[in-house]
């Protein structure tokens, strides 16, 4: 654990999307995509966010990247509330927080040469001379393990893994402090995934980067993260040190999620918890604990009262099973 404070902190972060139901009715519903989540990313470490589609993990990433405005709560970056930042400070924040997305075929402009792609953040954010740009691009290519001549080629001349390296080089161009990694390896071939995961880990160690790592591959998240947050329908149901959560999940949803993860060896026998049904719509989430309709341990209290995140054996879990107040 680092002694410094977190690089980024979210407090009761909320994003509700208003939707019109029906053409003429005018009655509006609210999709609670992210509903009051709090987390902190320690400096130089990785927070992994796991959950199934619709749990709000990508919306969380967008909020951190300022691609969406929160409808409630706040984000603190190095101790300062983003709401209070303006002008230059906000520009600094945008430079300090970069992103690598899932699909390197979609995130790189096919008409630009790799050198231009990597230099673009530099050119738009800093006044640097052409010669220095070229030198910095070469340096960045070297850091991600690509040859100098890659700068003169187009994205289509690279394989998926190499393209993801290009996207990583671009995200490093402005020497950021935090990188949001949204499913960075799920579009890649199995034999290439390990290369990229290793590269990300090396960069973290070398440059002291912090990561917000979002993925549905539980093993990859467990491998990459220091802290894990498990999301279900817009809320964090369990969070703590990666080892603690992965070894002994406490929330029934986390337990089911980790038991559903595929084994790495045929002799690895895990208790199989098959959840009934599917994730309900965030437009109309169940009352009380949002997981209670699918929960094998559901009690009467669960449908009435929303559980709070409370400390349970070295991590936080939001479940009435562990909240034994009378």
């Amino acid at each position: 654990m680092s002694a410094n404070g977190p690089v980024l902190e979210a407090v009761k972060l909320t994003k509700h999307f208003a939707v019109k139901r029906g053409l003429f009715s005018g009655s509006r519903g609210v999709v609670r995509a992210v509903d009051g989540i709090s987390f902190a990313i320690p400096t130089g470490q990785t927070l992994g966010v796991v959950g199934e589609s619709g749990c709000g993990k990508t919306t969380t990433a967008k909020l951190v990247l300022l691609l969406e405005q929160p409808t409630g709560g706040l984000i603190r970056f190095e101790g300062r509330d983003l709401e209070t930042l303006g002008g230059t400070n906000l520009r600094d924040y945008r430079r300090s927080v970069q992103a690598v997305f899932q699909d390197p075929y979609a995130s790189l402009n096919p008409r630009m040469r790799v050198g231009t792609i990597i230099a673009e953040p530099l050119v738009t954010n800093e006044t640097v001379e052409a010669a220095e740009v070229r030198q910095r691009v070469r340096g960045l290519l070297d850091v991600v393990g690509l040859p100098d001549r890659a700068a003169d080629l187009f994205p289509h001349e690279f394989s998926g893994g190499q393209r993801q390296r290009i996207a990583i080089a671009r995200s490093l161009a402005l020497s950021p402090k935090l990188i949001v990694l949204d499913e960075p390896v799920s579009a890649l071939d199995v034999s290439i995934r390990a290369q990229i995961l290793n590269l990300l880990r090396d960069l973290q160690a070398q440059l002291g980067l912090s990561y917000l790592f979002i993925a549905h591959d539980l093993a990859a998240v467990a491998h990459m993260s220091h802290q894990i947050a498990v999301m279900y329908l817009g809320q964090i149901v369990e969070t703590g040190a990666a080892e603690t959560v992965a070894r002994e999940p406490k929330h029934p949803y986390t337990q089911a999620l980790f038991s559903a993860a595929l084994p790495s060896h045929p002799e690895e026998v895990r208790e199989e918890i098959i959840l009934p049904g599917e994730v309900p719509s965030p437009l109309n989430p169940p009352a009380g604990c949002r997981f209670h309709p699918r929960c094998p341990f559901s009690m009467p209290r669960c449908s009435a009262e929303e559980p709070r995140l409370l400390p349970v054996e070295g991590r936080l879990a939001a479940c009435h099973l562990y909240d034994q107040k009378p």
Partner: protein
Amino acid sequence: MSTPPLLEIRNLSTHFVSARGKRVVRAVNDLSLTLRAGETLGIVGESGSGKSTLALTILRLLPPAARIVQGEINLDGEDLLKKSDAEMRHIRGKRIAMILQDPMASLNPLFTIGDQVGEPMRVHEGVSRGGAWTRAKELLKAVRISAPETRVGEYPHQMSGGMRQRIVGAIAISCEPALLIADEPTTSLDVTIQAQYLKLLRDLQHAHHLALIFITHNLGIVAKMCDQVAVMYAGRMVESGPVRQIFNAPAHPYTEALLQSIPRLVDNRQRLTAIDGQPPDLAAPPAGCAFHPRCPKVVERCSLEEPPGFAVAESQTARCWLRDPR
């Protein structure tokens, strides 16, 4: 061992030939395998390794540019490659069924679920429309769709991804096939829905004594579901044998490297062993063993001669010169 195999593929080669015949892609190259009734075979490989082409060859659903150059595909002792197109139509859907990755693409949006689940029975078994509708309801129940009475009259867009994939499963088993080929059946599903679906497939397999072929890039699915595994690389089956044996003692360096490159759930955060380089271009594969440019154990002979399959242990073979008994 005395029962004859249900499926026996001998020296099968499928090539893609360009319009002028200049470029030849050996997508499946001299492949042999056997599968018994009730057994599950996993075919693993990265994109472009030829695993999907193999499935399409078994079903004789190849695109026009593909040629089956040599080999036999014996299903219950009858060579499918000698069948006429009309005969194949009676085999597809009746004796061999297939589940594809994207259930929305395999269902027709304009027909009701009942019509689509009943169609194979009407075509292959001459069941009446009403009879097929009744059977469709039973099948929906068998794949655990809730309220089959109403679902049977609904359309694919009214279902979630997991339900659609279960409906595709219902269509696949409607005529009680002997062999079911599943090509990445859970790739588009969430983790807990994937667990539901894999359990369903296993239950269906036991109930109908199906032989199952799983085509996947995910070794976790192989570990969880399969009895036998065939590892493909650049059109070749580089290793095959019983799953446990191969996970415990992989004989081919590619299999070994793949197994080491997967992150584990409970993990000491050690560096992953990555496989360097990229999978080869099948139109211009490297000389000798196709894996030799990436192989950590390469010897001189590997770049000169292509290795044949060597028997490593009982029913385990590997195409690697290191396994040459001489």
